[in-house]
């Protein structure tokens, strides 16, 4: 089973993503900030991170760099209310981008696309 970590400072978003991703047969972990996310990453094998960019204190861009330093094989989809062009400027080497205005069906599609190319089964 693939394992996803969703990082977003908005509890409501975490709740929505959880309800969207769980029925897809995925194991979903949630973190409301960068620190909580790293605590999960060191203890569990995560295949994909859905990462909000705008978070207080340590933002998504910094966390992206930390994740890639820790394990460059963990895939990251950047998730933000900013248009994708702006997201790509801020985090140019993410495996995927999601504009929160695109709707959840699009997010699900991006997650499935990213996981297709993830070799490790947990």
């Amino acid at each position: 089973m693939k394992k996803i970590l969703v990082v977003d400072d908005e509890e409501k978003i975490l709740d929505i993503y959880l309800r969207l991703l769980l029925p897809e047969g995925l194991i979903v972990r949630c973190a409301h900030n960068a620190q909580a996310a790293t605590s999960i990453l060191v203890r569990e094998s995560i295949d994909l991170v859905v990462l909000d960019i705008n978070m207080p204190h340590i933002d998504g861009h910094s966390l992206f760099e930390v994740i890639k330093q820790f394990n460059p094989h963990i895939k990251v989809i950047v998730s933000s209310a900013y248009p994708i062009e702006q997201q790509m400027k801020r985090v140019p080497s993410a495996e995927g981008y999601y504009d929160k205005a695109e709707g959840f069906a699009v997010l699900l599609e991006r997650v499935q696309q990213a996981l297709v190319h993830t070799p490790r089964e947990v």
Partner: protein
């Protein structure tokens, strides 16, 4: 020669007292040393910083525990150092690294930091203990 017989409750009490004493000795030693020290649990969250660390940072223990100390890392060192820290936790291996840490005056100073995993006698992982020294002058 006299024989002392302890029942279960008394033996437990003695053990508890002995543990408390050794814990209090550890904290006294940690606070007396000029080396900056910290302890973190299995989730990487720091549970203790000694006086030398808190004096360097100008923070209280309450302000620094958890992951809050990470915000004291220089932004240009954060990803590299946090990555090393995470790898050490995941692999339960010792680590050593240099980075810039914000001091009480708001100025970043170079420190050299080492950490080692902690285990119980039956090899259960407990987290890490670490220490740092200011090496700014030698940079």
């Amino acid at each position: 020669m006299s024989l002392i017989v302890l029942d279960h409750d008394n033996a437990h009490l003695l053990l508890q007292n002995s543990l408390r004493e050794s814990e209090s000795l550890f904290y006294a030693l940690a606070d007396a040393t000029p080396v900056m020290m910290w302890i973190a649990g299995t989730d990487m969250m720091s549970t203790f910083f000694n006086k030398a660390w808190l004096n360097f940072r100008g923070q209280t223990l309450k302000e620094e525990i958890g992951h809050d100390w990470i915000e004291g890392l220089a932004p240009q060192d954060m990803a590299r150092c946090w990555g090393i820290y995470m790898k050490a936790f995941a692999s339960r291996q010792k680590f050593m690294m240099n980075f810039r840490l914000k001091g009480i005056d708001g100025v970043y100073r170079w420190v050299t930091a080492s950490g080692a995993p902690r285990f119980t006698s039956d090899r259960k992982f407990l987290g890490f203990i670490g220490w740092c020294s200011d090496i700014t002058e030698s940079k």
